[in-house]
């Protein structure tokens, strides 16, 4: 164990920028080629914006790290061209079960409804996601990916941030019109700016192990409180592709992380859980975690996204998923600002919206941790009371908290135009729009989300002629361009003839009305682009 073996290996290449006498200026420099940085780079490239991506390593290491990717993340990845590949390789699941001792106390289904292109969740080793993202990034000429480029200093100027970068061939400097700090929990950029996380560290330690075995367990998330094989603690079992299983065992606050990583300690623990099955240990780690965030994500010309901006516990799969959603939220706004189509203040809404998401994630994550690892005897008494009641009383089942799994955040945003009329359905102002099974003009079955563009879009429910929408807005007429083949669109959007729904480039709903009104749409569009109206 210890050093991670590499799964993908890349090479350092000298850039012409390194021969420049004075630092060259790039509109966007992204620090960190992980899931967040690469999502940002690909999305920017798809919007015609070039970026330089710097990473201090030259490989993707083994170890699954993040394994659960949510529906929302998959929808974003689908837009970036990786949806089918991820779902094809990943293990799709939606059911979770919670046990107390040997008995099941609670189960949940994360996507009880059909008619969505993407599943509720897939499990996939993080290295596969990163590998696919690198391949996709390499296809795009607008992305300049530089391995073994380590940022060592950041100096803020009025209109750019000057980065000092160390390479195997010495140092050079770059000026970033915008620097996206996607460099993870131990962000060097954050350190360079002297910024501190606010929040707290939990004392509890957990063992995380990926084991390879053929096992007959179903493709479900299984969580135990006080299992017979790991008395008094909690345990998690979850399937990944290639017959790899994620096991997470609570160790308590006083465990010794170095001792607990040794195979002579790990193997007996796993044998108690897995019995006589043959298994191989792929990767093991012992961790503690923070629930913390930067107070602000935008600092001059440096913008933080993902773990560099906020950290949570792993329960709930809110780390990588929220980071990818940060990137998507930021990129369309940054693109509009760079293209001169929106004021720079539009970026304030990134801070607002993803700050709300971070608070929500930290809140859920803290509550889950308090439930899984009670800190005092009275807290444990209360937690156990919930578990004891759960088999007998439905209300207590709903309180059992083994992690509330990541769903998209509903933004209470200045970019949204408040509803003037009442709408039912699952579509909500500030949330990404729900998917729905549709058919295109030729009667071919498709999904709503597949059909949507990367720009502002108006969904209008046919009621006579096509409206003349404001310039620059894509119009999709439901009943003409897309057919609501099962009535799911009508139900999920509470859509009646003549109603109109304005979608942002990230597919969050930002305005809706019962009857199309060009002036209201123009006003809502201006507001969603950060305008004063």
């Amino acid at each position: 164990m210890g050093e991670r073996k590499s799964v993908y290996q890349f090479g350092y290449r000298r850039s012409a920028d390194q021969d420049s006498k004075s630092p060259l200026r790039h509109p966007v420099v992204i620090v960190g080629a992980g899931p967040v940085g690469l999502t940002a780079a690909i999305d920017l490239a798809q919007r015609g914006i070039a970026s330089v991506v710097l990473d201090d390593a030259d490989r993707i290491g083994e170890g699954s790290r993040a394994i659960c990717f949510s529906k929302r993340t998959l929808e974003i990845m689908d837009r970036l061209g990786l949806g089918d590949r991820l779902v094809g390789k990943g293990v799709t699941w939606k059911v979770g079960k919670v046990f107390l001792g040997e008995h099941q106390v609670y189960s949940f289904d994360l996507l009880p409804e059909s008619g969505h292109r993407m599943p509720a969740f897939i499990n996939l080793q993080q290295y596969y996601l990163e590998g696919y993202l690198v391949e996709r990034a390499t296809e795009l000429p607008l992305i300049d990916l530089r391995w073994r480029n380590r940022v060592t200093a950041v100096e803020q100027q009025k209109e750019f941030a000057r980065l000092t970068i160390e390479t195997p061939e010495g140092e050079y400097q770059l000026d970033a019109g915008w620097c996206l700090a996607c460099d993870g929990a131990r962000s060097k950029v954050r350190d360079c700016l002297g910024l501190k996380f606010e929040g707290h560290t939990f004392e509890e330690r957990f063992l995380i192990a990926d084991v390879k075995m053929s096992a007959e367990y179903p493709t479900e998330r299984w969580f135990w409180f006080d299992p017979p094989f790991h008395s008094g603690q909690s345990a998690l079992l979850h399937r990944q592709p290639d017959n790899v299983w994620r096991i997470d065992l609570q160790l308590g606050p006083d465990s010794d992380p170095d001792e607990e990583k040794k195979p002579e300690r790990v193997l007996p623990r796993l044998r108690r859980m897995l019995g006589e099955r043959k298994f191989e240990l792929e990767w093991v780690s012992v961790y503690r975690f923070n629930c913390a965030r930067l107070r602000k994500f935008v600092h001059g010309r440096v913008i933080f996204a993902g773990d560099s901006a906020h950290q949570v516990s792993p329960f709930g799969a809110r780390g990588a998923n929220s980071g990818i959603q940060d990137a998507e939220n930021l990129v369309w706004k940054l693109a509009l600002v760079l293209q001169g189509q929106a004021p720079q203040s539009l970026l304030d809404s990134y801070d607002l919206e993803r700050g709300q998401a971070a608070d929500e994630n930290i809140g859920h994550s803290t509550r889950s941790t308090d439930f899984i690892a009670p800190r005092t005897v009275p807290e444990r008494t209360l937690r156990n009371a919930v578990l004891q009641l759960a088999p007998h009383a439905p209300f207590a089942r709903r309180m059992v908290n083994s992690g509330r799994l990541s769903v998209a955040s509903e933004y209470a945003s200045t970019l949204s135009t408040p509803d003037r009329e009442a709408f039912a359905g699952s579509a909500r102002l500030g949330l990404p729009v729900p998917d729905a099974p549709m058919a295109d003009r030729n009667g071919k079955a498709c999904f709503l989300l597949q059909y949507l563009s990367d720009d502002f879009e108006l969904l209008y429910v046919k009621d006579g002629a096509r409206p003349n929408v404001p310039e620059g807005l894509r119009l999709t007429v439901i009943g003409e361009d897309l057919i609501d083949r099962e009535g799911a669109f009508a139900a999920r959007f509470d859509a009646t003839p003549g109603s109109a729904f304005l979608l942002r480039p990230d597919h969050h709903l930002c305005a809706r009305m019962r009857h199309y009104d060009g002036a209201r749409v123009s006003e809502a569009l201006a507001r969603a682009k950060g305008g004063s109206k």
């Binding site: 009275p378 008494t381 209360l382 156990n384 009371a385 919930v386 009641l389 009383a393 207590a396 309180m399």
Partner: protein, 64 residues
Amino acid sequence: MTALRIEPNLPDPDAAYEALVEAHRGLPEPESAALNARLVLILANHIGDLAVLKEAIALAKRTR
């Protein structure tokens, strides 16, 4: 703000008190604490109002 009822609300308060005492009689302390925890959860759900629950917690905390 005052959603919590603190005026007498039980027709026979003595009987209610007796029922609680009897529930705890003979229990060792940890089991008694566990019983109280389950009771609190059951009653909190029955009340079904976070504002009332928070007022009740505040009253309990300031009267020790």
